[in-house]
Subunit: 497 residues, 2 copies
């Protein structure tokens, strides 16, 4: 499929030297990436399907520098794309040829740890896992744990509202942050939220979280920290059908048990994992569910027995319960290897990300099977079953003519299926450029117009990360928006009711 | 103090008959309150300091009726004030003389209970406690529990982002809702969120929550439900100083324990409560802390011993631990009587609502004492200590010349003190008209402008609940806004950066 992005501004390209000159007055030479070879390193994030060479890469270290860059970009009418660690799976930080790429990697300090208020103030470039490491000596941790947690930055987590295996119990990023410092489009610095609970006026903190870098540049994050649970135990459960596994997941939730994590994988993934590195998964099962229960010893023991009883009642054919930490980690080993393991079936895969109401799992899995059969491609399913967040891996071979396009089409069809049962296009990867052109499937014209009015309230000239999230080019005309061919696409005056 | 509200539109008053005629085409006669005596019942909410007689009261029963009323109001350029159960403590649903009061009380049905997705879909007029009652047979409940929970509606809870005793552990309203149906200013109906976790695009669900009825009219709410904890036990702890009590609270949190509730009251309140209806509170204590721990039996027993040890280390002079349910309820009885009890000290009180970082409790309590001494008024403190949400009760006698004004001034000074230590103007009561003119103390010009741009994105003509939250009249000019004396105060064109 062809990704249509706003065409580069010819004027801006001719102003590049002047821009760099002005940036040099703000940043030390080492914080500016001008050379083409060096800029290549920034041409995409972890969504590698589309690439662009940024006009220039700025790596500020202070909020004053960010503010000055934003003011300069406003003055010169230049686009900006913010970037954290570049691990986005939806192209959220894909650069623009006529835009400044604002890399936040040098904002890498933990500023304050405050146990009495159970929070930490960190800079946006700090890695997700580094926060937990900074507070582990007192037995605390930061809960959201995306798979990329050793690499991804907390600023990117805020932009994408990142999740992870444990978000079923502990929430997404939005449930675990208390405050932000943000630089607005004109360089103004605002603080949203803080160490206190709640805040008056509109919840701009919540609005900013998950806004995919389209509303402002985050320069500081106050996160909530939690005490590590005393004990964690796992159940490894095999079911004779995907339906049975899905019913089991629903039954656990309906019972009121909230596991620390509840992950599911299908037969294709189980077999791939066991071929890749055997870890004792049952090869006769059509679905495998791993349930982790955490808390105090007595609580966990009780919950393990409750979940075990539900599994038996729902027809589990395999039931293993971890009795020590080594066993618990072994149960997880296969899950953690799932992505590399499926790469052994086919050379390439597309990792999708959709979310559905948990109760619709059996139906969606059946529908996905039908789509896979129709397209003649294989799909391996690994997902956060507890919160209905699916990660179907569509397997294909890019060297075979047309397979990549078919895989992409199949991914879109799966997401449409998610939406049709009351689900949404993403759970934790964001919309970015990947799912931008599907937004119309999920949202009505009215929904999208209201979303774009909110964007206008922050960035009326559409200079911050344009081309992401909103199917802009399609929407321009309908929103009464003038699209200058080959030029920037500013938002129009607010429509009046 | 004088509350300055937008002056009524003379034009609108003359159009009243025409408006009523048009409303009769939308609503049955019984759903329209036209008569002056009947309209009097709606002249204020639980914040009784200011009153206004609404132009007309509309009581729709269907979303189509709400949509038609909103479209009519847009066509006729008439203001709208939405109202739930009218229990707001900040005047959030105070009517306007030239506006339609849109009462949502007839939206009173529980539409769906879905245990597999652990949620319930309810209409906005459903009482908070009615949701828990609807799911209690299966052992579930809805967590946020404002004191007014037998009366307040879930729609109002969403508007104010209501809290309660248990929000320390279970979160505010914003943490417990999954979806909304909202009617926008032109009558458009949108659905935000749903039964799934997360959603793509901007978090309009979060933005709507706590927006105090200024962005749209909520017509349906999907709430998360939780399983009731198996056991709850309480500790009743007396401390020799307010400082010691506050340090204890900080120590519990720093230890990583998250109690179901952690409430504190000062000497004045303890004595008032014991005079009102004795329940065994220690009269020698300067501060009383009630800690509730909930979960499984074993977990609760463990946590009780941990908290007990912290209390002893922090110098508690009284330590009682509930051994049965009757005792637990008795520990709470005094707390629940606190408001009527302080009414026996002085005929009137003003209940304030501010939130501070927990660590600053001792300092703020000392500062509050100093303010009280200076003003010659007494203050009784009852508060959600665990999450830093203070409810100082300023005692006064309205029959004494100037005392009410002094009480109001003192309340403002206390809130300024909260802000000065990094806190905020409200925890759960909202800004409304009560704290509107203090917003400038908390927010910078840039903050307020950004907030108002968001308001513009939903309601550019400022017709929905105007005069609340934003110090509009003061802000008009600075925001480049034309204020027509005696007329409506529409927002201006969006300022360009």
């Amino acid at each position: 499929m062809t990704l249509i992005m706003p065409a580069p501004e010819p004027d801006i390209l001719s102003q590049r030297d002047a821009l760099i000159e002005r940036l040099r007055a703000i940043l030390p030479a080492s914080n500016l990436v001008v050379d083409e070879t060096a800029r290549r390193a920034y041409e995409c994030d972890a969504f590698t399907m589309y690439r662009a060479l940024p006009l220039v890469v700025a790596l500020p270290e202070t909020v004053a520098q960010v503010s000055a860059i934003m003011a300069l970009a406003a003055e010169m009418n230049i686009k900006i794309v913010p970037r954290g660690a570049g691990t986005s799976l939806s192209g959220g930080s894909m650069p623009l040829e006529d835009g400044i790429l604002l890399g936040m990697s040098k904002f890498n300090r933990v500023l304050e740890i405050d146990y009495e208020n159970r929070c930490a103030r960190v800079q946006p470039g700090v890695q997700n896992l580094a926060i937990s490491k900074a507070v582990e000596e007192r037995g605390f941790y930061y809960a959201p744990d995306p798979s990329s947690q050793i690499a991804c930055s907390i600023g990117g987590n805020v932009a994408e509202n990142a999740g992870g295996v444990h978000c079923l119990k502990y929430g997404l990023t939005t449930n675990n942050i208390l405050g932000l410092e943000v630089v607005l489009m004109g360089g103004e610095i605002v603080r949203l939220g803080g160490k206190h609970l709640d805040s008056e006026a509109y919840d701009l903190l919540g609005l900013m979280t998950g806004s995919e870098g389209l509303l402002g540049v985050v320069t500081e994050v106050t996160v909530r920290i939690l005490q590590k649970p005393a004990v964690a135990r796992c159940l490894l459960l095999g079911f004779p059908s995907v339906d049975a596994g899905a019913h089991f997941v629903g039954a656990v939730i309906a019972r009121g048990v909230i596991p620390g994590g509840m992950e599911m994988m299908d037969r294709a993934t189980i077999h791939a994992v066991e071929r890749f590195q055997p870890c004792g998964y049952p090869l006769d099962a059509e679905a495998l569910v791993i349930v982790e229960l955490d808390g105090t010893q007595a609580e966990v023991d009780l919950l393990v027995s409750v979940v075990d009883a539900i599994a038996r009642a729902e027809g589990a054919t395999t039931t293993k319960i971890s009795t020590n930490e080594a066993e618990r980690l072994q149960f997880w080993a296969g899950r953690k290897n799932a992505f590399p393991a499926v790469s052994c079936i086919q050379p390439d895969y597309l990792c999708m990300d959709g979310t559905i109401p948990r109760g619709r799992l059996p139906e969606v899995l059946a529908g996905m099977d039908a789509i896979a059969k129709r397209e003649g491609l294989q799909v391996a399913n690994v997902f956060h079953a507890g919160d209905g967040n699916l990660h179907p891996l569509i397997l294909y071979d890019a060297s075979k003519e047309g397979e990549m396009a078919r895989a992409e089409k199949m991914g879109f069809d799966i997401l449409r299926l998610c939406v049709s049962v009351g689900g949404v296009l993403t759970g934790e990867h964001g919309v970015g450029v990947e799912k931008r052109d599907l937004m119309g499937e999920m949202f009505t014209e009215i929904d999208l117009e209201q979303q774009m009015r909110v964007k206008c309230a922050f960035d009326p000239m559409n200079r911050l990360n344009p081309g992401k999230v909103f199917p802009t080019l399609h929407r321009c005309a309908e929103f009464g928006m003038m699209h200058v061919s080959g030029g920037a696409a500013p938002f129009p005056d607010l429509p009046r009711f």
